[in-house]
């Protein structure tokens, strides 16, 4: 929660039940306002973590006139692509091939660095491969190697014949280099009577046949499908229980039909009731778990701790990718497999209330443009915090000028300069509300010296320059406003010139083209823990001020022109307001 430098987080209205139920109505804002005035937002509340965002993370719905956060927007995937080869993956492929790159993009199972295809064999003397001898082909076999931690797929016994389509080659290989059956081969083998008899023979001789994971699944699936399809296999003895138990094909298929929505179970089948039996032999998918761990213990003894995979490595492994058994898998680094890159997405975002799109990137992977990008930063004022040292008057302004990591002295009044910058093309009126004491066990005192002020419109820099130079340009209304703005600037300027370095209640500290700085006085709390109270909890020393910001402006009503009518005319202009909580994080208080 606590960032090192001063920060401002803004609360998204989605976490506030009252605003969500009546989306902001510009004409009658009083209803929600009253509720909010009742209570102070507590930045320390456990829920606050989920509703506070830096300004950059927030979007803005132009139709609802409300802030939208990453938690409340509805996302829609525009494009899937591999983050390594940057190729777009059509969503149809996604269904068949899964959500990982099926080209030759892999991550190292040890360190997650990118893997590259390299030739395993020591090349012939490089002296023979002079630059002119370009045609000299690299010859296999190939391996995937990590250029960061130097892991190589040869460590798990995997080599490739070709340097391309690694994914397809890898799908046929097990760790150790034994081949793995593809789905098609597996199907053929099931049909092949010769193989079947071989299986049963093996069983008769007492040794358990090793089914690999895919075969086991295929066998199980076939076995149960057979039972579902064949009602005669029903055990009539259990018929009475059939209606209740899940062991009956009828109830199973009824459940299935709930999810598939289709009429999987037609009426004539209803009469057939029976129980299913479980798989009993390898052919039906029975795989007795091998509880003999002596091999693993032996391996542990020989390879030691270095040979084992850590939790993070096991978590990074895609599920069911090549391991032979479910039981006792992934303990050793020799069982790790290259991780195909997880695909990434470009997503568009919709307002959760009005369903309008508020952010939409261009579909092409390589472009960074957006078709629609309504970010909160271009609608609501930004707030920059800077500690104010009265000695040098706070001349040059820079949001990040604070000494990072400096601790606040308890009980010593400190001043902060809050600079509000207006991004919109209208003059805005800002009203601030902050509790005089911060919530929590250690209440710091907060005084906003100027809670009520106006910020001039964000006019074009060049407009400004032209006007001040020639005085021409702009419609009558523009000029009127401009004049008024300058008058106000003069008034405030004369005041602030007279007593520039004095903090006066109700006075703006500094004003610029589209920004205003005000002063907040803070008396940090003492962190002395009273006897009987618990010790200082994590981040309890962070000084965070909740502040309610209300912004009012006159927006253009509908799409009619403005320039001809002066600001006095209320008919063509619509009063708008936006109110939200934000949190000013000032830093940590020194512990005495």
């Amino acid at each position: 929660m606590a960032a090192p430098t001063p920060y401002t987080y803004i609360q998204c209205p989605c976490s506030d039940v009252s605003t969500l139920s009546h989306p902001s109505d510009p004409n009658s804002p009083t209803g929600t306002e009253a509720d909010e005035d009742d209570r102070t937002f507590d930045p320390r509340a456990p829920r606050s973590n989920y509703s506070l965002y830096p300004l950059e993370y927030l979007l803005y719905c132009e139709d609802c006139h409300q802030i939208r956060c990453p938690r409340c927007v509805a996302e829609e995937i525009v494009t899937y692509y591999c983050p390594n080869c940057l190729f777009e993956v059509p969503s149809s492929n996604l269904k068949s091939e899964g959500n990982r790159c099926t080209r030759s993009c892999f991550q190292c199972p040890v360190c997650i660095g990118p893997l590259a295809v390299t030739s395993v064999e020591t090349k012939p003397d490089p002296r023979l491969l002079a630059p002119d001898n370009i045609a000299a082909p690299h010859s296999g076999p190939y391996a995937l190697t990590c250029s960061y931690c130097h892991w190589s797929s040869t460590e798990v016994g995997i080599q490739f014949e070709k340097p391309n389509s690694i994914h397809a080659q890898l799908a046929k290989l097990r760790n150790g280099g034994t081949t793995r059956l593809t789905a098609k081969e597996r199907k053929e083998r099931r049909r092949d009577p010769a193989h079947r008899s071989a299986t049963t023979e093996g069983e008769e001789s007492g040794e358990q046949e090793d089914l690999d994971l895919e075969t086991q699944f295929a066998n199980l699936k076939a076995f149960y499908q057979n039972q579902l399809a064949d009602p005669n296999s029903a055990d009539s003895g259990l018929a009475a229980l059939g209606d209740l138990g899940f062991s009956s094909p009828t109830s199973l298929s009824r459940i299935m039909s709930i999810y598939t929505g289709g009429s999987l179970q037609d009426k004539k089948a209803k009469s057939r009731v029976g129980a299913m039996r479980e798989a009993l032999e390898p052919d039906e998918g029975l795989q007795v778990a091998n509880l003999d761990e002596s091999a693993a213990i032996e391996q542990l003894q020989s390879e030691g701790h270095d040979g084992t995979a850590c939790t993070a490595q096991r978590v990074d492994q895609p599920p069911h990718l090549g391991e032979e058994h479910l039981h006792g898998r992934g303990r050793f680094t020799s069982e790790l497999r290259p991780i195909p890159y997880l695909l990434r997405t470009k997503r568009s975002k919709r307002c959760p209330i009005c369903r309008h799109i508020i952010s939409k990137p261009e579909a092409k992977v390589q472009t960074t443009r957006f078709r629609i990008r309504l970010v909160a930063g271009s609608y609501i004022p930004s707030i920059a915090i800077r500690p104010l040292s009265l000695s040098n008057g706070g001349g040059s302004a820079s949001g990040a000028a604070a000494v990072p990591g400096a601790l606040l002295d308890p009980l010593r009044p400190t001043h902060y300069l809050l600079t509000f910058k207006n991004p919109i093309f209208e003059t805005i009126k800002v009203t601030l509300g902050a509790p005089s004491k911060t919530p929590g066990r250690f209440a710091s005192k907060v005084t906003v010296l100027c809670p009520d002020f106006e910020i001039d419109a964000n006019t074009d820099v060049w407009d400004e320059a032209l006007k001040e130079g020639g005085g021409g340009g702009g419609g009558g209304g523009e000029r009127d406003r401009e004049r008024e703005r300058r008058r106000r600037k003069r008034e405030e300027g004369s005041q602030s010139n007279n007593n520039h370095n004095q903090l006066e209640v109700g006075k703006i500290w500094e004003r610029g083209r589209n920004w205003v700085s005000i002063v907040v006085e803070v008396v940090p709390a003492s962190l002395r823990v009273e006897a009987g109270d618990g010790p200082l909890r994590e981040d309890e020393d962070v000084l965070e001020i909740p502040m309610f910001v209300r912004v009012e402006w006159e927006g253009e009503a509908g799409g009619d022109e403005v320039g001809s009518v002066p600001t006095r005319d209320r008919d063509t202009r619509e009063k708008r307001e936006l109110a939200y909580w934000c949190v000013l994080g000032l830093g940590r208080i020194r512990q005495s």
Binding site: I134, Q366, T368, S398, S517
Partner: protein, 199 residues
């Protein structure tokens, strides 16, 4: 602004607006291309001398003059104190060659970072003490946090935030965060006539 500074400032300011610190070490300057308005702080090192020794076959076939640019940097880049840019090198068809390092516009390189990428896009923020491995490809709007080690050959797609050793994706640049990559303002704050940052 109007006051003339002493002739020997800390920076050399070129016609195209580049501000190159006198205490920066640019080796092989004839192979370093600066797009303009780029700031190179003191103790920065750029290895322009590590040029490509094997030309791409298409180039030699067309008969064009061999392009010896080793490091090209776009506009409004900011190379912080003590960082180092050097072209990546590798074995290519049995011989060793360096390949050019291309950097786009508005790229910030933090203090003490070493960049050996093949390409760095535009609007990229590389933090302090970052090691970008050889032939890494960093696309536009990428933020690399302090102390990250980007392994060789890694591709970092647009709008990624990466950190760690080795680098892994830890977040995405939000829609409202694009403007933060702009380096026009910071450009004005350094040089022989530094201006205060606008608030």
């Amino acid at each position: 602004m109007s006051s003339r500074r002493p002739p020997r400032g800390e920076y050399i300011e070129t016609d195209t607006g580049n501000k190159v610190a006198r205490k920066a070490t640019l080796v092989g300057t004839q192979n370093i291309m600066l797009g303009g308005k780029t700031v190179i702080q003191p103790e920065v090192m750029i290895r322009g001398d590590l040029i490509r020794t094997i030309q791409a076959s298409s180039q030699s076939a067309s008969g064009a003059a061999p392009n010896s640019t080793a490091v090209s940097i776009g506009r409004y880049c900011f190379l912080s104190r003590g960082c180092c840019l050097r072209p990546p090198g590798r074995l290519y068809k049995g011989a060793f060659t360096y390949m050019p390092l291309r950097i786009g516009d508005h790229v910030f390189v933090g203090a003490g970072s070493v960049v050996q990428a093949a390409t760095v896009g535009s609007h990229v923020h590389i933090g302090a003490k970052v090691a970008v491995g050889e032939f890494a490809i960093i696309k536009d709007y990428v933020r690399i946090l302090d102390g990250t080690v980007v392994p060789p050959n890694m591709v970092i797609p647009s709008f990624s935030i990466v950190a760690g050793q080795p680098a892994r994706l830890i977040g995405e640049v939000p829609e409202g965060g694009h403007e933060a990559f702009e380096l026009r303002d910071i450009y004005k704050t350094v040089g022989n006539n530094p201006q205060p940052a606008p608030s």
